[in-house]
């Protein structure tokens, strides 16, 4: 199996001095991997650091053949633009914009364009005919699927999802996880989910346990 992302001895230190350290892990192509643990144990911090949103205090993050994150070095622009996709906890959209506009806007942020293969996904995601509807007026299940589709814009290597099932019922949660699983297998990408939701467990190929409480102070 090909590694997609390798995290080694990574940690983040907040300006307050709060330090979050997490175990080493490797994401392989086609895998869905979970950060497991109680809330407040640093899952979101680790997820955001991996996605290049927070600076790395120690260790390295590597996308083999693509890029490397090290402490004290700014995140390569392509890290966010090309290699990471995001599923926020609650699906939210640009107010007043259609589904298509929201997808196009994400493509603009990523300095890329929507591909036909991405738009083909509206059929399996049961979003056909909704592209021109206002995204913020769709049902919650539809919004969640648009949110998933949005994370696939620009063909990222890794999709990062923070509590993606928190606001969904059992059926919607299973549907969302299945979509992510299919995406990982078909694009040879990897999905990293931070969740304390037990419903995610059966979909995970691997999980990283965040059992340690965060260490305080320097």
């Amino acid at each position: 199996m090909n590694p997609v992302l390798i995290s080694h001895a990574a940690s983040h230190v907040y300006p307050s001095g709060r330090t979050v350290v997490w175990p080493d892990f490797t994401l392989y192509a086609g895998q869905v991997v979970g950060f497991k643990g109680h809330s407040g144990c640093g899952k979101s911090t680790a997820l955001h650091t991996t996605g290049g949103l927070l600076p790395l205090a120690t260790g390295t993050l590597e996308l083999p053949d693509l890029g490397l994150l090290r402490p004290g070095v700014s995140v390569p622009p392509l890290w966010r633009k090309h290699w990471m996709g995001w599923v926020p906890q609650r699906p939210f959209f640009w107010p007043g914009f259609s589904v298509l506009k929201n997808l196009e806007m994400t493509a603009w942020a990523k300095s890329t364009a929507l591909t036909p293969s991405l738009l083909d996904l509206v059929v399996p995601l049961e979003l056909d005919g909704l592209l021109l509807e206002r995204a913020d007026r769709l049902s919650l299940g539809q919004q969640q699927r648009v949110s998933l589709l949005r994370s696939m814009v620009g063909s990222p290597r890794v999709i990062l999802a923070d509590e993606p099932t928190a606001s969904l019922d059992d059926f919607q949660a299973a549907q969302a996880l299945k979509i992510l699983q299919n995406w990982a297998q078909e694009t040879k990408g990897a999905v990293l989910i931070a969740s304390h939701d037990a419903r995610t467990h059966s979909f995970l190929d691997d999980s990283i346990l965040f059992h340690k409480p965060t260490t305080d102070g320097l």
Partner: protein, 386 residues
Amino acid sequence: MGFSTFFKSFAWGLLHLRTRPGQAFGQALLVAVGLGAAMGVERLHRASDQALVDELEGIDLVLSAVGSPTQALLASVFHLDNPVGNIDTAWANRWMKHPDIAQAFPLAYGDESKGVRILGCTPAFYDWKKMDLREGRLPAKPFEVIAGVDAASKLDLKLGDSFYGSHGAEGDLGDHTDHPYQVVGIGDARGKAVDGLLLTPLETVWDVHPDAPADYTAVLVRTQSPMAALFLPRSIRSDGKGMAVSPPLEINRLRSLLDQGNRLFSGMSTLMTAIALFAMVLMWWNFALERRAELALLRANGANGIQIYGFIAGPFFFVLGMGWALGWLAQGIWSLPGWPVTLPLFQWIPLDFYLLGWGGLAAALLALLPTWRALTTSIHTALLDA
């Protein structure tokens, strides 16, 4: 990151603005009021300046009775005030023959007709004012009158009409019902004070008041040289029978008066524009806070500072441009009826382009503030708050 990405960011900002058209229009209107006021004031300033220059074209001195020089000038050149008094014809004629004086236009104020002044003058005056007639001919004998275009429309006078004047400029001391005036010509629009006058030979004025001396009210004078204009006033004034006003001196005084008014208006228009810009910055500052989750997701997806700046600056440029255009189009409201000068409406003046340039610069700089707010928000925190 090329220009195309930057302009794409503009376009996204404008697409966002389209979801709130009322807000955009309201802001553009505020800007329009501020910039429109500035444009109007400048037009007024230029027009009144131009009017002062135009009315005095070729005039170096104004002879009048002793009194306020400004009043003498306003009365005899702009016909906006009552004359300071009359001057003795013999005395004035002597000065008109002075070798340093090239040309002279004696004027006599006569009656009024419903607030429109009847001015006695010599035929040379028509030439100097380039009075072209729309219809009819020039007066050939007393009591024949040509009406300026505004005077004709105000009094509803047509060629061949007769009318009576009322005594003096001061008020209704009775109509001169024994002396009807006859309209023999209607002037073309000149955009000058003559448009609002009824012009007649000097003799008309004197014949209406047979018991009064045949005096002039003022004499407009062109001197042989600028030096003469400088030195003549002292000798003219020496015998105490009249004075010579130098228009440039008086006009500088008038200008400084006008400028004070202009400064007040300019200050108000600047204030209004500043308020409009402040409101815009405030609104986009709030936007950066309200949309922090959406903006954070864009940044998580790689949107950089230039993209976010373009997104916010686009609407700034658009609203300022709209406001500028609306302000320019609104200049019709500046053509107030009864204004003594004609404004250069719907013509470009340099200020229009200065305002556009400064407005663009202001938009570019002010958009930095909300951009800074958006970029200094932590993506991590904003995404967790969502």
